[in-house]
Protein backbone atom coordinates (compact mmCIF):
# COMPACT_ATOMS: atom_id res chain seq x y z
CA UNK A 1 0.00 0.00 0.00
CA UNK A 2 1.91 2.96 -1.22
CA UNK A 3 1.53 6.01 -3.34
CA UNK A 4 4.58 7.35 -5.04
CA UNK A 5 4.40 10.75 -6.64
CA UNK A 6 7.05 10.00 -9.23
CA UNK A 7 5.30 6.81 -10.32
CA UNK A 8 1.99 8.60 -10.45
CA UNK A 9 3.47 11.30 -12.64
CA UNK A 10 5.20 8.83 -14.94
CA UNK A 11 2.08 6.72 -15.27
CA UNK A 12 -0.12 9.63 -16.20
CA UNK A 13 2.48 11.01 -18.59
CA UNK A 14 2.88 7.67 -20.38
CA UNK A 15 -0.84 7.06 -20.47
CA UNK A 16 -1.89 10.44 -21.74
CA UNK A 17 1.10 10.92 -24.00
CA UNK A 18 1.66 7.55 -25.55
CA UNK A 19 -1.76 5.92 -25.80
CA UNK A 20 -2.99 7.56 -29.02
CA UNK A 21 0.27 6.61 -30.71
CA UNK A 22 -0.68 2.92 -30.64
CA UNK A 23 -3.56 3.52 -33.00
CA UNK A 24 -1.15 5.30 -35.37
CA UNK A 25 1.23 2.34 -35.31
CA UNK A 26 -1.60 -0.09 -35.97
CA UNK A 27 -2.74 2.09 -38.86
CA UNK A 28 0.74 2.27 -40.34
CA UNK A 29 1.19 -1.49 -40.07
CA UNK A 30 -2.07 -2.11 -41.84
CA UNK A 31 -1.16 0.42 -44.49
CA UNK A 32 2.15 -1.33 -45.02
CA UNK A 33 0.37 -4.62 -45.60
CA UNK A 34 -2.04 -3.00 -48.01
CA UNK A 35 0.75 -1.15 -49.82
CA UNK A 36 -0.58 2.27 -48.88
CA UNK A 37 1.12 5.18 -47.19
CA UNK A 38 -1.53 5.27 -44.52
CA UNK A 39 -2.49 8.04 -42.12
CA UNK A 40 0.28 9.86 -40.25
CA UNK A 41 1.65 8.32 -37.07
CA UNK A 42 0.05 11.04 -34.99
CA UNK A 43 -3.36 10.94 -36.69
CA UNK A 44 -5.29 10.15 -33.53
CA UNK A 45 -3.69 13.09 -31.71
CA UNK A 46 -4.88 15.40 -34.50
CA UNK A 47 -8.34 13.86 -34.42
CA UNK A 48 -8.73 14.21 -30.69
CA UNK A 49 -7.42 17.76 -30.70
CA UNK A 50 -9.77 18.75 -33.47
CA UNK A 51 -12.79 17.10 -31.88
CA UNK A 52 -12.12 18.81 -28.55
CA UNK A 53 -12.44 22.16 -30.31
CA UNK A 54 -15.71 21.36 -32.05
CA UNK A 55 -19.32 21.94 -31.08
CA UNK A 56 -21.76 19.26 -29.98
CA UNK A 57 -24.76 17.84 -31.77
CA UNK A 58 -27.12 16.08 -29.39
CA UNK A 59 -30.06 13.91 -30.32
CA UNK A 60 -33.40 15.17 -29.05
CA UNK A 61 -34.04 11.81 -27.42
CA UNK A 62 -30.93 11.73 -25.28
CA UNK A 63 -30.48 12.62 -21.62
CA UNK A 64 -27.68 12.85 -19.11
CA UNK A 65 -26.83 9.16 -19.48
CA UNK A 66 -25.77 9.83 -23.04
CA UNK A 67 -23.32 12.45 -21.81
CA UNK A 68 -22.18 10.21 -18.94
CA UNK A 69 -20.91 7.51 -21.34
CA UNK A 70 -17.86 9.44 -22.58
CA UNK A 71 -17.14 10.84 -19.11
CA UNK A 72 -17.01 7.38 -17.55
CA UNK A 73 -15.23 5.99 -20.60
CA UNK A 74 -12.43 8.50 -20.06
CA UNK A 75 -12.22 8.39 -16.26
CA UNK A 76 -12.15 4.60 -15.91
CA UNK A 77 -9.02 3.75 -17.92
CA UNK A 78 -7.11 6.53 -16.14
CA UNK A 79 -7.94 5.12 -12.73
CA UNK A 80 -7.34 1.56 -13.92
CA UNK A 81 -3.92 2.54 -15.24
CA UNK A 82 -2.89 3.59 -11.74
CA UNK A 83 -3.45 0.03 -10.49
CA UNK A 84 -1.07 -1.71 -12.86
CA UNK A 85 2.66 -1.50 -13.39
CA UNK A 86 3.96 -0.06 -16.66
CA UNK A 87 6.92 -2.26 -17.42
CA UNK A 88 9.01 -2.43 -14.30
CA UNK A 89 7.69 0.88 -13.02
CA UNK A 90 5.45 -0.15 -10.15
CA UNK A 91 1.80 0.79 -9.83
CA UNK A 92 1.20 4.05 -7.97
CA UNK A 93 -1.78 2.54 -6.17
CA UNK A 94 -1.95 -0.99 -5.02
CA UNK A 95 -3.74 -2.93 -2.34
CA UNK A 96 -4.58 -6.55 -1.72
CA UNK A 97 -7.50 -7.52 -3.89
CA UNK A 98 -7.24 -4.60 -6.30
CA UNK A 99 -7.62 -6.95 -9.24
CA UNK A 100 -11.32 -7.30 -8.46
CA UNK A 101 -11.68 -3.55 -8.43
CA UNK A 102 -9.74 -3.36 -11.70
CA UNK A 103 -12.10 -5.76 -13.45
CA UNK A 104 -15.23 -4.08 -12.12
CA UNK A 105 -13.93 -0.66 -13.16
CA UNK A 106 -14.13 -1.81 -16.75
CA UNK A 107 -17.56 -3.18 -15.93
CA UNK A 108 -18.54 0.35 -14.98
CA UNK A 109 -17.29 1.72 -18.28
CA UNK A 110 -19.19 -0.96 -20.15
CA UNK A 111 -22.36 -0.29 -18.19
CA UNK A 112 -22.36 3.38 -19.10
CA UNK A 113 -21.24 2.96 -22.68
CA UNK A 114 -24.09 0.52 -23.26
CA UNK A 115 -26.62 2.74 -21.49
CA UNK A 116 -25.45 5.78 -23.43
CA UNK A 117 -25.79 3.85 -26.67
CA UNK A 118 -29.30 2.73 -25.80
CA UNK A 119 -30.20 6.27 -24.81
CA UNK A 120 -30.26 7.32 -28.45
CA UNK A 121 -33.18 4.97 -29.08
CA UNK A 122 -31.64 3.83 -32.34
CA UNK A 123 -31.57 0.20 -33.41
CA UNK A 124 -27.93 0.45 -34.52
CA UNK A 125 -26.64 1.58 -31.18
CA UNK A 126 -28.77 -1.01 -29.45
CA UNK A 127 -27.15 -3.66 -31.59
CA UNK A 128 -23.71 -2.50 -30.53
CA UNK A 129 -24.69 -2.36 -26.87
CA UNK A 130 -26.02 -5.92 -26.94
CA UNK A 131 -22.87 -7.26 -28.51
CA UNK A 132 -20.59 -5.33 -26.20
CA UNK A 133 -22.23 -6.52 -22.98
CA UNK A 134 -22.60 -10.10 -24.19
CA UNK A 135 -19.07 -10.59 -25.43
CA UNK A 136 -17.46 -8.83 -22.48
CA UNK A 137 -19.49 -10.97 -20.13
CA UNK A 138 -17.93 -14.04 -21.73
CA UNK A 139 -14.45 -12.53 -21.55
CA UNK A 140 -14.63 -11.86 -17.80
CA UNK A 141 -13.98 -15.43 -16.58
CA UNK A 142 -10.85 -15.50 -18.76
CA UNK A 143 -9.42 -12.47 -16.99
CA UNK A 144 -10.21 -13.93 -13.59
CA UNK A 145 -8.58 -17.26 -14.43
CA UNK A 146 -5.52 -15.47 -15.80
CA UNK A 147 -5.24 -13.36 -12.67
CA UNK A 148 -5.65 -16.34 -10.38
CA UNK A 149 -2.75 -18.05 -12.15
CA UNK A 150 -0.60 -14.98 -11.64
CA UNK A 151 -1.73 -14.68 -8.05
CA UNK A 152 -0.73 -18.26 -7.48
CA UNK A 153 2.67 -17.77 -8.97
CA UNK A 154 3.43 -14.55 -7.14
CA UNK A 155 1.68 -15.39 -3.89
CA UNK A 156 -0.02 -12.03 -3.81
CA UNK A 157 -3.42 -10.62 -4.66
CA UNK A 158 -2.42 -7.18 -5.87
CA UNK A 159 -1.83 -6.44 -9.52
CA UNK A 160 1.43 -4.67 -8.77
CA UNK A 161 2.93 -7.77 -7.20
CA UNK A 162 1.31 -10.17 -9.65
CA UNK A 163 2.95 -8.37 -12.55
CA UNK A 164 5.95 -7.50 -10.42
CA UNK A 165 9.47 -8.75 -9.96
CA UNK A 166 8.54 -12.39 -9.43
CA UNK A 167 7.25 -12.70 -12.96
CA UNK A 168 10.67 -13.40 -14.46
CA UNK A 169 11.27 -16.24 -12.03
CA UNK A 170 7.81 -17.61 -12.77
CA UNK A 171 8.67 -17.88 -16.46
CA UNK A 172 11.33 -20.39 -15.46
CA UNK A 173 9.11 -22.47 -13.23
CA UNK A 174 5.79 -22.31 -15.06
CA UNK A 175 6.42 -21.32 -18.64
CA UNK A 176 3.54 -23.31 -20.20
CA UNK A 177 0.92 -21.73 -17.94
CA UNK A 178 2.24 -18.26 -18.50
CA UNK A 179 2.35 -18.77 -22.24
CA UNK A 180 -1.30 -19.79 -22.27
CA UNK A 181 -2.16 -16.83 -20.09
CA UNK A 182 -0.32 -14.54 -22.47
CA UNK A 183 -2.37 -15.78 -25.38
CA UNK A 184 -5.60 -15.47 -23.41
CA UNK A 185 -4.87 -11.95 -22.21
CA UNK A 186 -3.99 -10.96 -25.75
CA UNK A 187 -7.37 -12.29 -26.90
CA UNK A 188 -9.08 -10.36 -24.10
CA UNK A 189 -7.25 -7.22 -25.15
CA UNK A 190 -8.52 -7.72 -28.68
CA UNK A 191 -12.13 -8.36 -27.67
CA UNK A 192 -12.27 -5.59 -25.07
CA UNK A 193 -10.90 -3.10 -27.55
CA UNK A 194 -13.06 -4.43 -30.35
CA UNK A 195 -10.32 -5.36 -32.76
CA UNK A 196 -10.29 -8.02 -35.46
CA UNK A 197 -11.14 -10.95 -35.24
CA UNK A 198 -13.94 -9.90 -32.88
CA UNK A 199 -14.91 -6.60 -34.38
CA UNK A 200 -13.75 -4.48 -37.24
CA UNK A 201 -12.83 -0.99 -36.11
CA UNK A 202 -12.69 0.25 -39.68
CA UNK A 203 -15.93 -0.74 -41.29
CA UNK A 204 -18.94 1.42 -41.08
CA UNK A 205 -21.33 -1.36 -41.87
CA UNK A 206 -23.59 -1.56 -38.86
CA UNK A 207 -23.94 -5.30 -39.10
CA UNK A 208 -20.31 -5.95 -38.35
CA UNK A 209 -19.60 -3.38 -35.73
CA UNK A 210 -19.67 -3.37 -31.99
CA UNK A 211 -17.84 -0.44 -30.54
CA UNK A 212 -18.00 1.84 -33.55
CA UNK A 213 -21.74 1.55 -33.82
CA UNK A 214 -22.27 2.33 -30.16
CA UNK A 215 -20.69 5.74 -30.47
CA UNK A 216 -22.40 6.59 -33.74
CA UNK A 217 -24.36 9.47 -32.26
CA UNK A 218 -21.60 11.05 -30.21
CA UNK A 219 -19.96 14.13 -31.65
CA UNK A 220 -17.49 16.86 -30.87
CA UNK A 221 -15.70 16.80 -27.52
CA UNK A 222 -17.72 13.76 -26.46
CA UNK A 223 -16.46 11.76 -29.40
CA UNK A 224 -12.96 13.01 -28.65
CA UNK A 225 -13.25 11.76 -25.10
CA UNK A 226 -14.47 8.40 -26.34
CA UNK A 227 -11.57 8.06 -28.76
CA UNK A 228 -9.10 9.06 -26.08
CA UNK A 229 -10.69 6.68 -23.56
CA UNK A 230 -10.63 3.80 -26.05
CA UNK A 231 -6.96 4.46 -26.80
CA UNK A 232 -6.19 4.45 -23.08
CA UNK A 233 -8.11 1.24 -22.57
CA UNK A 234 -6.04 -0.41 -25.27
CA UNK A 235 -2.93 0.98 -23.59
CA UNK A 236 -3.88 -0.31 -20.15
CA UNK A 237 -4.82 -3.81 -21.23
CA UNK A 238 -1.89 -3.88 -23.63
CA UNK A 239 0.43 -2.92 -20.79
CA UNK A 240 -0.56 -6.10 -18.96
CA UNK A 241 0.21 -8.21 -22.03
CA UNK A 242 3.52 -6.45 -22.59
CA UNK A 243 4.51 -6.82 -18.96
CA UNK A 244 3.75 -10.50 -19.14
CA UNK A 245 5.83 -10.79 -22.28
CA UNK A 246 8.73 -8.68 -21.02
CA UNK A 247 9.12 -9.47 -17.35
CA UNK A 248 12.07 -8.47 -15.25
CA UNK A 249 14.06 -5.29 -15.08
CA UNK A 250 17.32 -4.01 -16.53
CA UNK A 251 18.13 -2.04 -13.41
CA UNK A 252 18.00 1.39 -14.96
CA UNK A 253 14.73 3.25 -15.05
CA UNK A 254 15.37 4.92 -18.42
CA UNK A 255 16.13 1.61 -20.07
CA UNK A 256 13.06 0.04 -18.51
CA UNK A 257 10.92 2.84 -19.81
CA UNK A 258 12.33 2.49 -23.29
CA UNK A 259 11.85 -1.26 -23.14
CA UNK A 260 8.25 -0.83 -22.08
CA UNK A 261 7.55 1.73 -24.80
CA UNK A 262 9.18 -0.54 -27.34
CA UNK A 263 7.06 -3.43 -26.12
CA UNK A 264 3.88 -1.40 -26.48
CA UNK A 265 4.81 -0.42 -30.03
CA UNK A 266 5.59 -4.05 -30.82
CA UNK A 267 2.17 -5.01 -29.47
CA UNK A 268 0.60 -2.42 -31.74
CA UNK A 269 2.50 -3.86 -34.69
CA UNK A 270 1.30 -7.35 -33.78
CA UNK A 271 -2.27 -6.15 -33.56
CA UNK A 272 -1.79 -4.51 -36.94
CA UNK A 273 -0.47 -7.76 -38.40
CA UNK A 274 -3.39 -9.70 -36.95
CA UNK A 275 -5.81 -7.20 -38.42
CA UNK A 276 -4.18 -7.35 -41.82
CA UNK A 277 -3.94 -11.10 -42.06
CA UNK A 278 -7.14 -12.27 -40.43
CA UNK A 279 -10.76 -11.85 -41.30
CA UNK A 280 -13.47 -10.97 -38.86
CA UNK A 281 -15.10 -14.00 -37.26
CA UNK A 282 -18.69 -14.87 -37.88
CA UNK A 283 -20.74 -13.36 -35.08
CA UNK A 284 -21.93 -16.67 -33.71
CA UNK A 285 -18.38 -18.02 -33.63
CA UNK A 286 -17.24 -15.26 -31.30
CA UNK A 287 -18.84 -16.63 -28.12
CA UNK A 288 -17.27 -19.97 -29.01
CA UNK A 289 -13.81 -18.45 -29.24
CA UNK A 290 -14.32 -16.57 -25.98
CA UNK A 291 -15.47 -19.67 -24.14
CA UNK A 292 -12.48 -21.44 -25.64
CA UNK A 293 -10.21 -18.73 -24.27
CA UNK A 294 -11.66 -19.02 -20.78
CA UNK A 295 -11.29 -22.79 -20.89
CA UNK A 296 -7.71 -22.39 -22.02
CA UNK A 297 -6.93 -20.07 -19.14
CA UNK A 298 -8.69 -22.44 -16.77
CA UNK A 299 -6.55 -25.22 -18.12
CA UNK A 300 -3.41 -23.20 -17.46
CA UNK A 301 -4.59 -22.98 -13.87
CA UNK A 302 -5.07 -26.75 -13.73
CA UNK A 303 -1.47 -27.15 -14.83
CA UNK A 304 -0.47 -25.26 -11.72
CA UNK A 305 -2.84 -27.05 -9.39
CA UNK A 306 -1.04 -30.37 -9.55
Amino acid sequence: MKITILQLFLHLLLLFGLSPLLSGVIGKTKALFAGRTGPPWLQLYYDIWKLFGKGLVLSRVTTWVFRAGPVVGLAVPVLAALLIPFGSIGAPLSFTGDLIFFIYLFGLARFFTACAALDTGSAFEGMGAVREVTFSCLAEPTVFFAFIVLARLSGSLSLDAMFGQTLAASWHSAAPSLLLILVCLFLVTLVENCRIPFDDPNTHLELTMIHEVMVLDHSGPDLGMILYGAAMKLFVLGALVVRLFLPGTTGSMILDLLLFAGGMLLLAVIIGVVESTMARLRLLRIPQLLVGASLLSFFSLILLLR
Binding site: L180, R285, L295, F299, L305
Partner: protein
Protein backbone atom coordinates in the same frame (compact mmCIF):
# COMPACT_ATOMS: atom_id res chain seq x y z
CA UNK B 1 15.09 -32.23 -22.70
CA UNK B 2 12.36 -32.72 -20.15
CA UNK B 3 11.07 -29.24 -20.74
CA UNK B 4 10.82 -29.79 -24.46
CA UNK B 5 8.87 -32.98 -23.89
CA UNK B 6 6.48 -31.25 -21.53
CA UNK B 7 6.02 -28.46 -23.97
CA UNK B 8 5.24 -30.90 -26.73
CA UNK B 9 2.71 -32.67 -24.53
CA UNK B 10 1.09 -29.36 -23.70
CA UNK B 11 0.79 -28.59 -27.38
CA UNK B 12 -0.88 -31.96 -27.80
CA UNK B 13 -3.54 -30.85 -25.30
CA UNK B 14 -4.00 -27.53 -27.03
CA UNK B 15 -4.50 -29.38 -30.29
CA UNK B 16 -7.08 -31.54 -28.52
CA UNK B 17 -9.01 -28.39 -27.62
CA UNK B 18 -8.62 -27.10 -31.12
CA UNK B 19 -10.02 -30.29 -32.63
CA UNK B 20 -13.00 -30.22 -30.28
CA UNK B 21 -13.72 -26.58 -31.06
CA UNK B 22 -13.08 -26.63 -34.78
CA UNK B 23 -15.96 -26.80 -37.17
CA UNK B 24 -14.03 -27.57 -40.35
CA UNK B 25 -13.37 -31.13 -41.30
CA UNK B 26 -10.22 -30.32 -43.22
CA UNK B 27 -8.64 -28.40 -40.39
CA UNK B 28 -9.61 -31.19 -38.02
CA UNK B 29 -7.76 -33.74 -40.14
CA UNK B 30 -4.79 -31.43 -40.50
CA UNK B 31 -4.67 -30.91 -36.74
CA UNK B 32 -4.79 -34.61 -36.05
CA UNK B 33 -1.96 -35.06 -38.53
CA UNK B 34 0.09 -32.37 -36.78
CA UNK B 35 -0.63 -33.98 -33.46
CA UNK B 36 0.49 -37.36 -34.76
CA UNK B 37 3.60 -35.85 -36.27
CA UNK B 38 4.49 -34.13 -33.02
CA UNK B 39 3.96 -37.27 -31.05
CA UNK B 40 6.32 -39.15 -33.30
CA UNK B 41 9.11 -36.90 -32.01
CA UNK B 42 8.41 -38.03 -28.48
CA UNK B 43 10.28 -41.38 -28.41
CA UNK B 44 13.49 -39.71 -29.51
CA UNK B 45 13.08 -36.75 -27.20
CA UNK B 46 12.12 -38.77 -24.19
CA UNK B 47 14.48 -41.68 -24.50
CA UNK B 48 17.38 -40.43 -26.56
CA UNK B 49 18.72 -41.66 -29.89
CA UNK B 50 18.78 -45.38 -30.44
CA UNK B 51 17.75 -47.69 -33.21
CA UNK B 52 14.63 -48.63 -31.41
CA UNK B 53 13.37 -45.09 -30.81
CA UNK B 54 14.38 -43.88 -34.24
CA UNK B 55 12.46 -46.68 -35.91
CA UNK B 56 9.47 -46.00 -33.76
CA UNK B 57 9.61 -42.29 -34.49
CA UNK B 58 9.95 -42.80 -38.21
CA UNK B 59 7.14 -45.34 -38.31
CA UNK B 60 4.82 -43.18 -36.30
CA UNK B 61 5.61 -40.11 -38.36
CA UNK B 62 5.03 -41.88 -41.64
CA UNK B 63 1.76 -43.40 -40.55
CA UNK B 64 0.21 -40.78 -38.30
CA UNK B 65 1.67 -37.70 -39.85
CA UNK B 66 1.49 -38.60 -43.53
CA UNK B 67 -0.18 -41.82 -44.58
CA UNK B 68 -3.40 -41.75 -42.59
CA UNK B 69 -4.15 -38.05 -43.07
CA UNK B 70 -3.47 -38.55 -46.76
CA UNK B 71 -5.97 -41.38 -46.84
CA UNK B 72 -8.54 -39.33 -45.00
CA UNK B 73 -8.08 -36.34 -47.26
CA UNK B 74 -8.46 -38.58 -50.22
CA UNK B 75 -11.58 -40.08 -48.72
CA UNK B 76 -13.31 -36.76 -48.18
CA UNK B 77 -12.34 -35.62 -51.63
CA UNK B 78 -13.79 -38.76 -53.12
CA UNK B 79 -17.08 -38.67 -51.28
CA UNK B 80 -17.29 -34.85 -51.44
CA UNK B 81 -18.25 -34.29 -47.85
CA UNK B 82 -19.35 -30.86 -46.78
CA UNK B 83 -16.89 -28.98 -44.66
CA UNK B 84 -18.85 -28.82 -41.44
CA UNK B 85 -18.24 -31.33 -38.69
CA UNK B 86 -21.88 -31.60 -37.50
CA UNK B 87 -21.63 -32.10 -33.76
CA UNK B 88 -24.46 -33.69 -31.81
CA UNK B 89 -24.28 -31.39 -28.78
CA UNK B 90 -22.66 -28.19 -30.01
CA UNK B 91 -19.09 -26.98 -29.93
CA UNK B 92 -19.14 -25.05 -26.67
CA UNK B 93 -20.55 -27.92 -24.58
CA UNK B 94 -18.02 -30.32 -26.14
CA UNK B 95 -15.26 -27.85 -25.31
CA UNK B 96 -16.46 -27.57 -21.73
CA UNK B 97 -16.71 -31.34 -21.45
CA UNK B 98 -13.23 -31.61 -22.93
CA UNK B 99 -11.82 -29.21 -20.36
CA UNK B 100 -13.56 -31.02 -17.55
CA UNK B 101 -12.19 -34.33 -18.82
CA UNK B 102 -8.72 -32.84 -19.06
CA UNK B 103 -8.97 -31.40 -15.57
CA UNK B 104 -10.25 -34.75 -14.36
CA UNK B 105 -7.37 -36.63 -15.93
CA UNK B 106 -4.85 -34.26 -14.37
CA UNK B 107 -6.39 -34.63 -10.95
CA UNK B 108 -6.85 -38.37 -11.36
CA UNK B 109 -3.26 -38.93 -12.42
CA UNK B 110 -2.14 -37.09 -9.28
CA UNK B 111 -3.90 -39.74 -7.25
CA UNK B 112 -2.38 -42.67 -9.15
CA UNK B 113 0.37 -44.56 -7.33
CA UNK B 114 2.99 -43.88 -10.00
CA UNK B 115 6.68 -44.41 -9.54
CA UNK B 116 8.59 -41.27 -8.64
CA UNK B 117 10.09 -40.52 -12.04
CA UNK B 118 6.68 -40.62 -13.72
CA UNK B 119 4.66 -38.80 -11.12
CA UNK B 120 5.96 -35.40 -12.15
CA UNK B 121 5.91 -35.92 -15.90
CA UNK B 122 2.93 -34.99 -18.01
CA UNK B 123 2.75 -38.32 -19.84
CA UNK B 124 -0.01 -39.88 -17.81
CA UNK B 125 -2.41 -36.92 -17.60
CA UNK B 126 -1.89 -35.99 -21.23
CA UNK B 127 -2.40 -39.57 -22.30
CA UNK B 128 -5.62 -39.79 -20.32
CA UNK B 129 -6.81 -36.41 -21.58
CA UNK B 130 -6.15 -37.40 -25.17
CA UNK B 131 -8.00 -40.66 -24.68
CA UNK B 132 -10.92 -38.71 -23.28
CA UNK B 133 -10.83 -36.33 -26.22
CA UNK B 134 -10.94 -39.25 -28.57
CA UNK B 135 -13.94 -40.63 -26.74
CA UNK B 136 -15.69 -37.29 -26.85
CA UNK B 137 -15.03 -37.05 -30.55
CA UNK B 138 -16.46 -40.53 -31.06
CA UNK B 139 -19.52 -39.81 -28.96
CA UNK B 140 -20.45 -36.33 -30.06
CA UNK B 141 -19.73 -36.19 -33.76
CA UNK B 142 -22.04 -37.37 -36.42
CA UNK B 143 -19.98 -38.15 -39.46
CA UNK B 144 -18.17 -41.40 -40.14
CA UNK B 145 -14.99 -39.53 -40.94
CA UNK B 146 -14.99 -37.84 -37.57
CA UNK B 147 -15.34 -41.29 -36.07
CA UNK B 148 -12.13 -42.22 -37.81
CA UNK B 149 -10.56 -39.05 -36.41
CA UNK B 150 -11.78 -40.02 -32.97
CA UNK B 151 -10.02 -43.35 -33.25
CA UNK B 152 -6.87 -41.61 -34.37
CA UNK B 153 -6.88 -39.27 -31.37
CA UNK B 154 -7.60 -42.26 -29.21
CA UNK B 155 -4.56 -43.99 -30.62
CA UNK B 156 -2.48 -40.89 -30.03
CA UNK B 157 -3.44 -41.07 -26.37
CA UNK B 158 -2.37 -44.70 -26.22
CA UNK B 159 0.86 -43.74 -27.92
CA UNK B 160 1.57 -41.14 -25.23
CA UNK B 161 0.95 -43.78 -22.61
CA UNK B 162 3.19 -46.18 -24.46
CA UNK B 163 6.02 -43.67 -24.15
CA UNK B 164 6.27 -44.59 -20.50
CA UNK B 165 6.95 -48.16 -21.51
CA UNK B 166 8.95 -47.77 -24.70
CA UNK B 167 12.03 -49.29 -23.18
CA UNK B 168 10.13 -52.30 -22.03
CA UNK B 169 7.74 -52.78 -24.90
CA UNK B 170 8.94 -54.97 -27.73
CA UNK B 171 9.11 -53.33 -31.08
CA UNK B 172 6.72 -55.80 -32.57
CA UNK B 173 3.86 -54.72 -30.33
CA UNK B 174 4.25 -51.09 -31.31
CA UNK B 175 4.44 -51.94 -34.94
CA UNK B 176 1.40 -54.10 -34.57
CA UNK B 177 -0.59 -51.28 -33.06
CA UNK B 178 0.41 -48.88 -35.79
CA UNK B 179 -0.45 -51.36 -38.48
CA UNK B 180 -3.78 -52.11 -36.87
CA UNK B 181 -4.56 -48.48 -37.05
CA UNK B 182 -3.66 -48.26 -40.68
CA UNK B 183 -5.86 -51.19 -41.50
CA UNK B 184 -8.66 -49.69 -39.42
CA UNK B 185 -8.49 -46.47 -41.36
CA UNK B 186 -8.44 -48.38 -44.62
CA UNK B 187 -11.53 -50.27 -43.63
CA UNK B 188 -13.18 -47.09 -42.47
CA UNK B 189 -12.42 -45.38 -45.74
CA UNK B 190 -13.83 -48.24 -47.73
CA UNK B 191 -16.89 -48.47 -45.54
CA UNK B 192 -17.39 -44.75 -45.88
CA UNK B 193 -17.15 -45.00 -49.58
CA UNK B 194 -19.74 -47.74 -49.59
CA UNK B 195 -22.08 -45.91 -47.22
CA UNK B 196 -21.82 -42.87 -49.35
CA UNK B 197 -22.63 -44.80 -52.46
CA UNK B 198 -25.60 -46.52 -50.88
CA UNK B 199 -27.16 -43.71 -48.89
CA UNK B 200 -25.52 -40.67 -50.48
CA UNK B 201 -24.86 -39.31 -47.02
CA UNK B 202 -22.14 -39.77 -44.46
CA UNK B 203 -24.40 -39.49 -41.49
CA UNK B 204 -23.94 -42.44 -39.19
CA UNK B 205 -27.33 -41.69 -37.68
CA UNK B 206 -28.70 -43.41 -40.74
CA UNK B 207 -26.96 -46.58 -39.72
CA UNK B 208 -29.25 -46.90 -36.76
CA UNK B 209 -32.06 -47.79 -39.14
CA UNK B 210 -30.16 -51.02 -39.76
CA UNK B 211 -31.14 -52.30 -36.32
CA UNK B 212 -33.80 -54.99 -36.44
Amino acid sequence: MDNTVNFLLLLVILLNFFILGSSRLVSCIRTVAIQGGMLSLLPVLAHGFSGHTLFLAAGAFLLKGIAIPFLLFKAIRQVRIRREVEPLIGYVPTLILGTLATAGSFIFSDRLPLIAEHSQSLFVPVGLATLATGFLMLITRRKAITQALGYLIFENGIFVFGMLLTEAMPLMVETGVLLDLLVAVFVMAIVMHQINREFSTMNIDKLSSLKE
